[in-house]
């Protein structure tokens, strides 16, 4: 499924306002959305529209070991959903099922249902390339390619079928500006991305993902490999993505979740397998958790 080169990034580049909450809603795929979104699971206070991503009874096995049990919750469009919980509770595993990166792990089996704007993404007939373009992912450790800054952004675009030089350059500049890197790197777009600092590399990775004009961005502890200053820059950047993208972020930093998230899902290990024990609006979960464990966890951890 090749992307029509004419469908460039104009919708979004013409300013934030022009970009509808859940990405490009001019497409017909958005039309049936309200009808399918009657499920009550979209957080306590879903905004207009409904869940961009909807997990239903997701279970994940690594070989024979069950690492996630019955995860069901929705991630609202244009909002930032934080997934928190102690390490080893399957947060990152769950995140990687959302764009099927879990397929790359040998022996990893996912069951249940995950719907992206109403369409299931777990079937075998899914175009994974298209899915991963719509659902971008940023990793714990910045992973720019060992190529120039420019090529890092343009290589995936070219792979998408965009050949027009002007268009490539325009997109490159736009996304690098969007992540606030333009002033720092505009004079050395042709030098190696590996020469950038860790925080710059991570922002480049975000820019690279944004260049594909995704609807959803997944962040897997994007700050944990960075120093505190770079961390706060990246964090502000993520906060600024609200409304433009549906953001799902895995973090073990409670205060970070509190600073940037709109809603929260708390994962916990119970009976040897990760489960979701509470989810909902940020304030509600942090101020008035239903679950005793969550209460201890968020209050102990927020410092």
């Amino acid at each position: 499924m090749k992307t029509d080169p004419d469908r460039d990034l104009a919708d979004c580049s013409s300013g934030e306002g022009a970009c509808a909450p859940a990405g490009d809603c001019s497409e017909s795929s958005c039309a049936p959305r309200p009808a399918q979104c009657t499920e009550p699971d979209c957080g306590d206070d879903p905004p207009a529209g409904c869940c961009a991503i909807e997990a239903q009874g997701v279970e994940v096995y690594y070989g024979k070991k069950k690492v996630l049990t019955d995860v069901s919750f929705g991630m609202a469009p244009g909002r930032i959903t934080a997934i928190i919980g102690p390490s080893g509770c399957g947060k990152s595993t769950f995140l990687s099922t959302l764009n099927r990166m879990s397929d790359l792990t040998i022996g990893c089996k996912v069951s249940g249902d995950i719907r992206l704007e109403g369409k299931s993404i777990l079937g075998s007939g899914i175009d994974l390339i298209e899915l991963r373009r719509r659902v971008g992912m940023i990793f714990q450790k910045p992973n720019p390619f060992p190529l120039s800054i420019r090529k890092n952004i343009q290589l995936p675009l070219k792979e998408m079928g965009i050949r027009n030089r002007d268009e490539l350059e325009a997109t490159t500049e736009k996304v690098i500006r969007d992540v606030g890197l333009w002033d720092e790197v505009s004079d050395r777009l042709n030098s190696s991305a590996l020469a950038l600092s860790g925080g710059q590399q991570q922002r480049l990775c975000i820019a690279r993902a944004m260049a594909l004009d995704p609807d959803v961005l997944l962040f897997d502890e994007p700050c944990s490999a960075l120093d505190p200053i770079s961390c706060s820059v990246v964090e502000e950047l993520i906060a600024s993505l609200r409304r433009q993208y549906t953001v799902v972020i895995v973090t073990h930093n409670m205060s970070q979740a509190r600073r940037i998230a709109d809603s929260v899902a708390v994962f916990w290990v119970q009976e040897g397998s990760g489960r979701i024990i509470e989810h909902g609006d940020l304030e509600r979960v942090f101020e008035d958790p239903k679950h005793a464990i969550v209460k201890d966890y968020v209050q102990g951890g927020c410092g």
């Binding site: 175009d127 994974l128 390339i129 991963r132």
Partner: protein, 294 residues
Amino acid sequence: MYPSRIDQWVVWGLRFLGVASCALVGLILLFLVADSIPALRTLGDRLIHDDSWHPSEHATDGTFGMLPIVIGSLTVTLGSILIAAPLGLASAIFCHFYAPPMLAGFYRRMVELLAGIPSVVFGFWGLAVLAPMISTLLRPPGHSMLAGILVVALMILPTIALISETALAAVPRSHIAGAAALGMGRWSIIRSIVLPSARAGIFTAMILGIARAVGETMAVVMVCGNIVRVPGSVFDSVRTLTANIALEMGYSVGMHRSALFVSGLLLLFTAIALTTIIGIVEHRSKDREGGAHV
């Protein structure tokens, strides 16, 4: 399994080429068997029972007793591994535990270079230097099993040393540090901790050394004297299977050629057997490690 349509095409193309490269084993086996069949069918156990090796084009004219040649191969292999195994292992231990870092690096590089020297150069050195020396210092003719054993030992030593060292390096440092903390000396740590843990890797090194020794041709042709008989002592001339092929293949026809292919087949089966042994050993040691983790 693969996300894109191009990938589907590419993976099938790659599989085709991959199959082609391993089908090579089958192809080699096929051609060796095909050319061996006449000898196996007509000569049968004459290949073992004939009392000499005077092959000719027709089965009726010649004698085809390969036994002395097989024994020649076995003795040269055995002798060379007996010499090369301790020396190679000691080299690896030297490199990893005794030599100062600079010297260890230098020594390792030297062993690597030694591994890269063509067998024809070893053979030439054996022919021009070693054999005459054996002849004058010990006993003529010099072109003997001893010369062959020494040259082949030198050639397989780097293989054994390099692979053993990899095995030594894989021994967890915590084992060694733990033993050192108990006040054990260097040699007793090596003997009682390192060598037992690196056992499987060292064994693999020895088997690969044997495989190389069995298959070595040029050096053996040049220094062993190539007389077909069961050697009475290490100073006698001897002919190995590989040398026999190298010497006679050029002019052999008919049954003679086929008999040479039988010996090639024998070498191929030896290689397969040795590889299988290595596979089994690696498999078992992996299982044991896996068991330890659970």
